[in-house]
Symmetry: C2
Subunit: 350 residues, 2 copies
């Protein structure tokens, strides 16, 4: 049971719903009630074996030694040139057993290639784990009904093992929204419909709906989308991911040389939060150019949504660093003969 | 100018049209006239530098030393376990300069990972080259009008450099159809529309249409689709790619150990051509199970199309090796209460 989506995309070769009623209606419901999301497109890359720790440390500038068993950690993956390969959530299942719950790029082949070249003893695979997200302010109430009171005590970015609808899974307090909730890592694909129905039925009293990552919510909350707001062409400093670079990390890391150099040189571009006041804009089909007062191109929009809370269009843009200061006025080229004024904000969170 | 497609898919994160009028109408036109295809989804992975040859030799079981400058070569990419990673066309632009024109999987990250791990001196990138295919029996006539008589002499899987519509490009005699034609590797993306219009206008006298890879044509001609008919889970022997494994190859190759072992052991499964006579079948939403007379599952369909030429549905299926002999009768599970009889053919070509 559920609802029919209005639009979808393909993410890691897997369908991902993008709108059910309208972005605004989906957003309002997400902020008030609880939603169930099929996010099986968040594929897992399983890394296990004697060199698993070495491999995970090599591919991210974060210090993975600080990640405990049962903990999730957001780890940008960065190549030897400083380019962002992906920004997965790391789940440490055991000392030498990890899942990378990935964004939209083929980390499996990336990690397999590195492990082969380095001669590491690791087992690397896609274990066909299909995540389901429960998001929204009533997520706790719903999951307490299903899994018992102790789910309330699960801290953010921690997971434990639970059983429901005849299947056992990891459940983490996490999810790609700003409204709180959980992610369930379903291992037995054949139990998916039973699990969905079980949560669906219990969710009726909380006005549950089928949902999906919501563009308004995620931009308001500053959640970046790999492939849009950051790509292999950007380093973590451009995208404001400085805090995920452990400068005192001891393990060998393939990006450390490039990132030290990038840090010293400073970035030429920065990802900024833009507010474009006024009516809701329809994204043009081409790239959205951002220019200064003189009309000179200074960067490009990477994501945009209309936010009633901000009374305007909120967006991410990558612009030249000297135009990235909060308060900076910029112009977004809507069309060859139309431009909208925009202001750089320090962040959207309030 | 062109026509509007009826359906599309996403291939290497890029839109790819799949049907314009109907598969049958598109097929008939392709077999008789000439079509222009936007296949920019065929991304290039550029490998250059002192260790470029070593790297290309490492990732494919084919003997790349036999590939001359100006030559294309179909090279399955195979990992250290014998699994197929992709099946690109290799273009040798220069002694130490290659493009892999890839099918649908992220070869860029895999190759980058291997090169990093091996410590190779190579430059690896996606050069943003957008291929355009001219396919169908009138392709030669059309391209002669545009590029001169010597294009007729271009042998199969060879390329040279030409200029048209203000842009210079490699043009190869190749393409993902059985009807002959060319692929143009456009490097200046901004010239794409001019190039399209130029070919479009000249093609009017040959009844040119916008088109795309056609399911009927490609299955009839035995062209496999990566991600459907072969995946990382299959080795080249399963998919009948034996002839692309150079057993006397001298260069180091990461799959040679696994492939020697697989060769000695023999494969448990084989990809077969299936004819399912009768009316055109609508593919079920779930996996298409293939069973023997007793109802025991023996494999799965991987692709299917209705062919008027064969008076039935033609398909690829991966089945247990002992059920792969031409003439073998099998059953395709259309639905829980409906099955169709099928026969293994030696091939579809006649």
């Amino acid at each position: 049971m559920g609802q029919t989506p209005k639009s979808m995309t393909i993410y890691n070769n897997t369908p991902l719903m993008t709108v059910f009623r309208s972005p605004q209606q989906d957003y309002e419901h997400l902020c008030e009630h609880v939603q169930i999301w099929d996010v099986s497109c968040e594929r897992q890359v399983e890394i296990a074996g004697g060199d698993a720790v070495k491999l995970v440390e090599l591919i991210t500038p974060r210090d993975v030694s600080k990640c405990e068993i049962g903990q999730c950690m957001y780890i940008p993956l960065v190549d030897e040139n400083g380019g962002i390969v992906n920004d997965p959530i790391l789940l440490r299942l055991n000392k030498e057993h990890f899942w990378l719950s990935i964004a939209d790029s083929n980390v499996l082949l990336w990690v397999k290639g590195i492990a082969y070249g380095m001669g590491y003893r690791t087992s690397i695979q896609d274990p066909d784990v299909n995540p389901l997200a429960i998001q929204g302010p009533r997520s706790d109430d719903l999951m307490v009904d299903l899994l018992g009171e102790n789910i309330r005590k699960l801290p953010f970015f921690r997971f434990f093992r639970k059983t429901l609808a005849g299947t056992s899974f990891y459940i983490a307090r996490s999810g790609w929204s700003g409204q709180g909730g959980f992610e369930i890592y379903l291992e037995e694909c054949s139990k998916g419909l039973d699990l969905w129905d079980c949560i669906w039925d219990a969710g009726q009293k909380y006005n549950i709906r089928a949902g999906c990552p919501n563009s308004i919510d995620r931009i308001e909350r500053g959640l970046l989308s790999y492939g849009n707001d950051m790509t292999l062409a950007e380093n973590p400093f451009v995208c404001g991911l400085d805090r995920f670079i452990s400068r005192d990390k001891k393990a060998e890391c393939m990006s450390s040389g490039a990132l030290s150099k990038a840090y010293e040189q400073g970035t030429t571009h920065k990802l900024v939060y833009l507010l474009i006041p006024g009516k809701s804009l329809t994204p043009p089909r081409e790239t959205w150019r951002v220019s200064d007062e003189s009309g000179t191109t200074r960067g490009y929009l990477t994501s945009m949504a209309y936010s009633m809370r901000y009374g305007g269009n909120i967006a991410f843009a990558t612009v030249e660093a000297q135009f990235s200061t909060p308060g900076q006025a910029l112009f977004v080229e809507i069309d060859s003969d139309e431009q909208a004024t925009a202001t750089v904000l320090s962040e959207f969170r309030d």
